[in-house]
Symmetry: C2
Subunit: 280 residues, 2 copies
């Protein structure tokens, strides 16, 4: 076995390291460095600019939790927009629902091409005829597009550092809201509270200025910094309690993490988070 | 700043590294190596045999979650036994309740002495007159002692490797049950499902053979391998829904993580865990 470790180094004081057995892909687009390598514990791992994005073994936490709360809370989601999500896990989970059309806008074609070739266990739905993949700027799209609106907008984006910063700006969330039909639901990853508490709280604040219902929820993602993650569901009309329980039950045949109990439990707020959000 | 990293190496394929600013304590007892060092992100960190045990910044997750579900579910906990817990965080949380007596049995005096001197923000209750600390073998104690029984037994132990293995044996859980009064509640850490799923499931099985009510629950512990952890509450008469809500509310003045919502939400079982336990 190789003696090489691949470390994600967080602010030069904390690191998560995975022993790299071999490299499957290494390339650079105009946007970023894209690597896929093999590990024993996590299977194949996708890293972008040396940050772990997903892995074969733990991807279900992130993808199930980004997708299913929003879709099960919508009354009848037919058209879904995914911004980012180049590894294909998010659209795979969306396509488990009875949807008509999924548009995925990913800025970096290299992420999709590398994932299609080297992460086949994650992106199992690339050939679904309901899916349309466009290589384009998601921010420009939501702010300017005249396309038909969507029932669901999912933001499967990166951390608020460098090019990802704009994904945490209010004008971008306004664009996401602009793309929603009445009764629509927006969901996004909203970072780890443990390491990015201020970013998390500011995100909640910006979303509250735009949506009547804003509900963060929490779950594990072992390969992400701190191992705990948050997502947020925002809507003008739909709340967690509006979930269609029979649709959640049907998903339970496929999901590893998400289920009826988790749908309820994940919205439980840690005491100090509850207090900070109550003070907003 | 120092260029030294302290890595917890999990089965030689995954590691969590913390940059060590300086060492506060390093010693070896007849049982194990004990180290306390300073980090930027986690404050002071206690490591035993190169496994992170707790840190100033994230200790509240583990200690609140081990202690409060069991104590709030008991009708009127007065006598509490803590096995292990040498850093002092568990007894600190126990002593927030209206208890008469807490006995802590820790096998390694060095852990307590080092923590008392170098982890003062964690062990803030060492001088409480209700606390009695004994340096003794907790396993022998629960299996053989003729002492008065307890309302609560808390197992604040280590991983099931090497000397910690016995903490996952059925005869030890029988001893813990033996020390409970009628209406008593036993709680223990039950490892990370992500990395130790079989140990977790076997623990549930052993406890189910001994207790009428066995309820695992889940939460984050950023400094532990995978970042997600589980604990289990076991009792012949008390279940999570028996919690005294007014006592949880009173705790919310102090706790950072545990609260009414988390008490309910933490017992939500991931879908694949639910399926495995249903098949037992």
């Amino acid at each position: 076995m190789s003696g090489l470790w691949y470390d994600e180094n967080f602010q030069d004081d904390t690191r998560l390291g995975l022993r790299a057995i071999r490299t499957h892909f290494s390339g650079r687009s105009e946007y970023q460095k894209v690597e896929i390598f093999e590990t024993k514990r996590f299977g194949r791992v996708l890293a972008i600019d040396e940050i772990f994005m997903t892995s074969e073994r733990d991807e279900y936490f992130y993808h199930e939790m980004l997708v299913h709360p929003a879709l099960t809370c919508h009354a009848d989601p037919k058209r879904v927009l995914v911004i980012g999500g180049g590894d294909g896990g998010t659209v795979r989970e969306v396509l488990r629902h009875n949807v008509d059309k999924v548009v995925m806008i990913e800025i970096d074609e290299l992420v999709v091409r590398a994932s299609q070739e080297h992460l086949p266990t994650i992106g199992t739905a690339w050939d679904d005829p309901r899916l349309e993949v466009r290589f384009d700027d998601g921010i420009k799209y939501v702010c300017e597009s005249d396309d038909e609106k969507y029932d669901i907008v999912l933001l499967d984006g990166t951390d608020p550092v460098g090019p990802g910063e704009v994904l945490f700006e209010k004008r971008f969330y306004e664009g996401c809201k602009r793309m929603l039909k009445p009764g629509g639901v927006f969901a996004l990853q909203s970072e780890t509270v443990f390491l990015f508490e201020d970013v998390f709280v500011e995100t909640q604040q910006k979303l509250r200025e735009l949506f009547a219902q804003v509900h963060p929820y929490f779950g594990p993602v072992p390969i992400y910094a701190s191992g705990q993650w948050s997502w947020t569901m925002a809507s003008d009309s739909r709340a967690p309690a509006d979930a269609d329980v029979s649709r959640i039950e049907a998903l339970e045949a496929h999901t590893k993490y998400y289920c009826r109990d988790i749908h309820k439990g994940a919205f439980a707020m840690p005491n100090h988070v509850r207090k900070r959000l109550a003070a907003l």
